[in-house]
């Protein structure tokens, strides 16, 4: 046997040797090492907002990313595509808008682009995989699968080669599609649980379309993936020359004349030599205005004239009088419609550079250009430059130049990656130096060194997507202690009347895991392993320095307990309840519906606090959820609205509603979105989607009223007819009869004195009812027998996995049931209110929240507040103020009681704070808050590491900031 193994191994080794090493996986779409260093600021990599011709703000940023590198035998190796420069706009860039874009530190304008739609067919993958779907490096990621009625639905993302993806999408071929949504506009108020569960097999997202053919929990096949790609982009590296247009006359541009002759549908623009006797180019041009469709491939040719052989592109722009000669505008919000009083101008772009997707960078063939489109709008969102060939750094050759940049002064490498101290399999020193010779700190932060030279330098938003797999670990296990960002102190107390539906202060310290806040893997009766965890959030607290006190407003402190997915009855699933494992018994849910109401677009109204005002929210019942219209786009001038369901905790429901009306691929539109939305049991049907508000015809979402649970582990009882089993201290459960074929069992509950208390037939448990398990409460209730005589509430339920065994019927019995009822005081500590939250897809318990209905006041005389009391009467946690001078909190901490010991957190005001906001513990709710503030938190981590103050405009940055204003 050993010989056999040895010969097999030798054969495998030989095969490997003769076949060569396995090809390294392309780094496209993949994340760098989870613990890679992140440096938010390096002067040569810019991060700045500019405005385009229409005054719309464009957040631009640049970054350098190194991924899939390795260090071995004194050499650091970076594969082809492993070193990547990213220039990104948070919005998008399109022709005819004079959209700014950064090109290796230079402020450029996108003037033209060639776009197309790439379609890929029959892509199969397994759960967890990120498979390449094309040669450019796009990947499809199968992130997650869960179920409803035991049928799977899957969460996917299309990852661009840079690693960016805008959102995860849910699809399924197992459920009714959105088009099957019936008219529910008659519904209003609470209605009973609805049977249908919707999930579309096609995810439509503007310019993108993903259609799943078939899938289960572990693998999926997509019949087609369509997404926009950009084949070519032309940038202008200088501000354009703007000349007043004079019809039938010419304007001088350098050594050329530009004539404009009026015609019925535009101007015939003619570019001639200086004498006007030789026409270099001529074309009928239509003036550009703000209608979005004009940049479509079949339209855009009518709006520009490129002079062959000359560095010159001419457009005619309609510009307000006061706008001429400037590309900066006095307003900052979007300009939805064209203006009526404008001047016609000739706009001449020069210093043109055209780059092609997948082709070498014009100044440096070592780098390959990547152009990535917004999946929603199909317009340019990202430019990447990647090393075309792998390279190695070692003692002799310790640096690799980045791509050569265009410069007014000196075309030179935009940055340089240096690894100047490699010992064996570790790099002890490496850094990035920019075009202005500025360098980062040693990216190997400790003397231990690193096994790779991965890093992310700069503030491109791709950082957030690329860290999806590792961000929680990065934030929850900081290498340099509990990070506390000092507060910005204001000249007025930042008063919050109520914090329901608000997220916490993005600068609130994150304490991570702490003893006393449970987090563990639990297994249900079906053998499914789920993470169950609890935590604490304090939000909206403030120092009321006029009264020398700290105030936590109502709903400002909440305890949260949540599992990796919803908590289901009939499965023996558990959740944490104040440090103890609780077993869910049953639940009571409804469908909350509304009709005929308006949602205004939410605009941030700055009030100098870190908590925006959400006065446009539409409430969904009392203390349940709200609707918030958070984002809007114009897709060829058709308004598209993104509406979110915001939970009581301040987190968003996972699936935003993307709505637009009147779009149709059949009629040739470039974009398509559903004109209604339904996912799971939540739906929204708009009457009208406008730019500033949406009128909703019909809306519904699940709401949970109460759950019942017990701390006692349910016991399985196998009973033959006539047999009985103790059910708590005062009762017994007796099986009267059962019918295995029908799936029914008749049971009775008797008191200890033998008197009959109640009889009930459970079931039927057959194929028809199983089709609604485990989510449907009507079916769940039909399998459960609850009994309450005021002493000790008990419950018996059929074992849905193996209901009948060896001629007996199987039951699970629950004793000492407790109830969590929404908007009522918590039984164990009436100072706190119960706010159970429901899964937005189904009707199950998603989260248990306990929060304060009254403000909590802390001051020098009352420096301690105890959180909700556990079963043993001790508070699960306490807030302790150690040093407070009336204006600043200099020291405070959280204490927990765990296994008869007291644990203390680090000082959560290590730097002075003006609130006691905190995130403690790790669960889905806290994860949502962290993800939303990931960039800021990660940047702060870096400042914290070196003890630096947040980056201010100093040095070269100050100079650049002024130069390019």
């Amino acid at each position: 046997m050993n010989k056999l193994l040895a010969s097999g191994a030798a054969a495998a080794l030989l095969c490997l040797l003769f076949s060569g090493a396995p090809a390294a996986e392309s780094p496209h779409g993949l994340a760098p090492a989870g613990d890679m260093p992140f440096i938010p600021d390096l002067g040569g990599l810019r991060h700045k907002a500019f405005k385009n011709q229409y005054g719309q703000q464009r957040e631009l940023s640049e970054a350098v990313l190194v991924r899939k590198s390795s260090v071995k035998n004194g050499k650091a190796t970076v594969p082809a595509g492993g070193l990547c420069y990213i220039s990104e706009t948070q919005e998008d860039a399109a022709p005819f808008r004079r959209d700014p874009f950064l090109l290796l530190g230079e402020h450029a304008y996108l003037v033209d682009s060639k776009t197309s739609v790439r379609s890929v067919r029959d892509v199969s993958l397994k759960k967890g995989e990120k498979v390449l779907v094309d040669n450019a490096g796009y990947r499809l990621w199968f992130d997650y699968a869960t179920d409803h009625y035991d049928l799977p639905y899957i969460q996917m993302a299309l990852i661009a080669p840079s690693g960016h993806w805008p959102m995860e999408f849910s699809v399924s071929s197992k459920f009714p599609a959105i088009k099957d949504l019936p008219d529910r506009s008659h519904m209003e108020g609470d209605v009973e649980q609805l049977d249908e569960f919707f999930l579309d097999p096609v995810f439509e997202y503007g310019a993108s379309r993903f259609e799943v053919k078939d899938h289960d929990f572990q693998k999926a096949t997509f019949s087609s993936l369509s997404y926009p790609v950009i084949d070519e982009a032309t940038f202008s590296l200088s501000r354009p020359v703007v000349l007043d247009l004079r019809q039938e006359e010419y304007r001088l541009y350098g050594t050329k004349r530009i004539y404009a002759f009026r015609e019925s549908s535009g101007f015939r623009v003619s570019v001639t030599n200086l004498g006007g006797d030789k026409i270099l180019a001529e074309k009928l041009l239509r003036p550009i205005s703000s209608q979005g469709y004009k940049d479509a491939e079949n339209e855009k040719d009518a709006y520009s004239l490129t002079v062959p052989g000359e560095d010159m592109r001419v457009e005619i722009a309609v510009q307000p009088e006061w706008l001429r000669h400037s590309d900066f505008m006095p307003w900052s919000d979007a300009v939805p419609h064209d203006w009526s009083d404008g001047m016609l101008s000739l706009v001449v772009y020069r210093d043109l550079v055209t780059v092609k997707n997948g082709e070498p960078w014009p100044l440096d063939p070592r780098y390959t250009v990547g152009l990535e489109a917004s999946l929603l709008t199909g317009k340019l969102q990202r430019l990447t430059l990647e090393n075309a060939e792998p390279f190695t750094l070692d003692d002799k050759n310790d640096s690799y130049d980045g791509p050569v940049k265009y410069s007014d002064v000196w075309n030179r490498p935009a940055f340089r990656l240096v690894a100047d101290d490699i010992e064996g399999d570790k790099v002890k020193s490496y850094y990035v130096r920019d075009a202005f010779f500025q360098r980062t700190d040693n990216l190997s932060f400790t003397d231990r060194g690193r096994r790779d030279i991965d890093c992310f330098i700069g503030r491109a938003p791709t950082f957030v997507s690329i860290l999806e797999d590792s961000f929680l670990t990065r934030l929850a296990t900081p290498k340099f202690g509990t990070e506390v960002e000092g507060s910005h102190f204001t000249s007025f107390p930042s008063v919050m009347p109520n914090m329901a539906f608000h997220s916490p202060d993005p600068t609130a310290p994150f304490g991570g895991l702490m003893r006393g806040f449970g987090r563990e893997q639990v297994t249900n009766r079906r053998g499914e392993r789920l993470t169950s965890s609890e935590g604490l959030v304090i939000r909206g607290s403030y120092v009321d320095w006029k009264n020398n006190r700290i105030v936590i407003p109502p709903a400002g402190l909440f305890y949260t307990s949540r599992n990796a997915r919803n908590v289901r009855a009939l499965n023996g699933e558990t959740f944490y309840m104040l440090g103890r494992r609780a077993y869910i018994a049953t639940f009571e849910s409804t469908t909350f519906t509304r009709r005929n109401f308006d949602i205004d677009f939410w605009r941030v109204q700055p009030d100098a606090s870190l908590h925006p005002i959400y006065w446009q929210d539409q409430p969904l019942g009392v203390n349940n959820k709200v609707l918030r219209f958070t984002e809007k786009h114009l897709l060829d001038d058709r308004p598209m609205a993104q509406i979110n369901v915001v939970k009581y905790s301040g987190n968003n429901f996972g699936a935003p509603f993307e709505l637009a009306q009147g779009l149709s691929r059949e009629q040739g539109d470039r974009y398509y979105l559903h004109d209604r939305f339904a996912e799971g049991a939540t739906w929204i049907e708009p009457e009208f989607v406008g730019e500033d508000y949406v009128r909703v015809k019909s809306f519904g979402t699940p709401a949970i009223k109460s759950v019942e649970y017990t701390y006692e582990k349910p016991v399985r009882a196998l009973l033959a007819p006539g047999e009985e089993k103790a059910l708590g201290k005062n009762h017994t459960l007796r099986l009267v009869s059962f019918d295995e074929a029908a799936g029914t069992a008749t049971v009775e509950i008797r008191r200890n004195d033998g008197s009959l208390a109640k009889t009930r037939t459970l079931g039927p448990l057959n194929a028809k009812t199983r089709a609604f398990l485990p989510q449907h409460q009507r079916v769940v209730n039909s399998l459960q027998f609850a009994f309450d005589e005021g002493k000790n509430k008990v419950l018996a339920e059929m074992d849905v996995k193996t209901p009948f065994e060896k001629g007996k019927a199987a039951f699970y019995t629950y004793t000492d049931l407790k109830k969590l009822e929404g908007d009522t005081p918590f039984e164990g500590d009436p100072r706190f209110m119960v706010r159970p939250d429901v899964c937005g897809h189904c009707y199950q318990l998603n989260e248990v929240l306990l929060d304060n209905p009254e403000p909590i006041i802390l001051d020098r005389e009352h420096p301690r507040f105890d959180g909700p009391r556990m079963a043993d009467g001790k508070p699960q946690f306490s807030i302790v103020i150690d040093s407070f001078d009336g204006e600043m909190i200099h020291a405070w901490h959280i204490e927990t009681n765990y296994r008869k010991r007291v644990f203390k957190s680090a000082n959560l005001a290590f730097q002075p704070r003006n609130n006691v906001g905190v995130l403690m513990g790790v669960n889905g709710t806290i994860e949502g808050f962290l993800r939303a503030s990931l960039m800021e938190r990660s940047a702060w981590q870096e400042y914290w590491r070196t003890g630096a103050h947040p980056h201010s405009e100093r040095g070269l940055d100050a100079w650049l900031a002024h130069k390019f204003q």
Partner: protein, 381 residues
């Protein structure tokens, strides 16, 4: 026509120079300040501060800290340096001198405006044992330095300036003590150089000592904050030891900051009382020019006491500190312009010897106390 002052006098303001007289010097100070620091309200990006910041980024951090911060580039040092170079290379026209004399107004004014910067409650978080310990070390250092300075036969203005700056650990204190002790410009800058040199050497050697003594992060942070003091150099030492020590150094620095006025006022009052006790001793020169307790010191003390009651909130404090930066930038520019290099070197090397001797004694005492506290489990930190 030269009209006697008594005839010109209409009010107490008559003693001031006219605007016309001070304008050239004031403009010189103003432009030096403007091109030295990024001052509030000034959009000028071409400043020495920005140049140093860029050089910091080019050179790369030392122990994760900017090099010029370790070298004490700040709002006092930058304009002083620029003024010193301009004054010594190009000379100072007589027409500037009356304007430059505004330093005698700007210095006391700056000191008064500094009062809100020293708030005791910011230090409370470190605990009373450490605060008392820090205070004791500060007084001890001041006394040792004064005694040693006298033993070395130095000018009392010089050694008392060193005593104030070394005990508080902040080189800026030389500027604060200048109008208090009536030190000469050369003495002040010599003292400043001595403190910076000591801090620079100590900041690189202290981590070696800390590792040799197997100190923990917190204790080493205390050693670097109270053994060196100067912020940039303290952080250089602490981060050179470990990240954690660096973070604790930030934490404990507030204690040193809050106690700072006590340190320089202690030195001032010692020297002031000494001058009163020995009015005829020619060797006693520090504070001699003050016939009585200077008004600006009284105002400073009152302001310092008042701000402890939080009458000035943090945004106001920050705004006032921006004014302090303007004030000291102008004053330091004037000081640099009016100071020949020879005046600095005239003080000789005795200042260096004094600073290193006192500084080393302080570090030894501090280290011994911290090790003893650790050994006896005394909750010092």
């Amino acid at each position: 026509m030269n009209i006697p002052y008594e005839e010109r006098r209409r009010s107490f303001l008559s003693c001031l120079y006219s605007t016309q007289e001070i304008l050239p010097g004031l403009l010189a100070m103003f432009f030096i300040a403007l091109f030295s620091n990024n001052l509030a309200g000034s959009p000028n990006p071409l400043t020495l501060e920005n140049l140093f910041s860029w050089l910091d980024a080019v050179i790369g951090p030392v122990n994760h800290q900017p090099l010029f911060q370790i070298l004490n580039s700040n709002f006092v040092w930058n304009p002083f340096l620029m003024g010193l170079v301009i004054g010594n290379v190009f000379g100072v026209p007589d027409s500037w001198k009356r304007g430059l004399s505004l330093i005698h107004v700007l210095m006391p004014l700056g000191i008064i405006m500094l009062a809100p910067h020293f708030i005791f409650s910011h230090a409370e978080k470190a605990g009373m044992p450490l605060i008392l310990f820090a205070f004791a070390v500060m007084v001890f250092t001041a006394v040792v330095t004064l005694v040693l300075g006298r033993a070395l036969g130095m000018d009392d203005r010089h050694y008392s300036t060193i005593a104030g700056a070394l005990s508080t650990g902040d080189p800026h204190v030389v500027a604060i003590l200048m109008p208090m002790l009536k030190s000469k410009g050369g003495q002040v800058i010599n003292a400043l150089g001595c403190i910076l040199l000591f801090g620079l050497v100590a900041s690189f050697l202290l981590p070696l000592l800390g590792h040799a003594l197997d100190m923990d992060d917190k204790a080493f942070a205390v050693l670097s904050v109270f053994g060196i003091g100067n912020t940039g150099q303290t952080f250089n030492a602490a981060f050179g030891f470990s990240y954690e020590a660096g973070h604790w150094a930030h934490y404990f620095d507030s204690v040193r900051n809050a106690l700072m006025p006590a340190g320089f006022l202690f030195v001032f009052f010692v020297m002031f009382l000494r001058a009163r006790m020995f009015p005829d001793d020619a060797a006693v020169t520090a504070t001699r020019a003050h016939k009585k307790l200077p008004l600006f010191i009284v105002v400073f003390i009152i302001a310092w006491i008042v701000v402890q009651f939080h009458v000035m909130k943090e945004p106001a404090r920050i705004a006032v500190f921006e004014l302090v930066k303007w004030d000291f930038s102008l004053a330091a520019a004037a000081l640099g312009l009016s100071l020949p290099l020879s005046e600095i070197t005239r003080c000789g090397l005795r200042g260096v010897i004094l600073t290193f001797a006192s500084g080393l004694v302080r570090i030894a005492v501090l280290a011994a106390c911290l090790l003893a506290a650790a050994h006896f489990n005394f909750p010092l930190v």
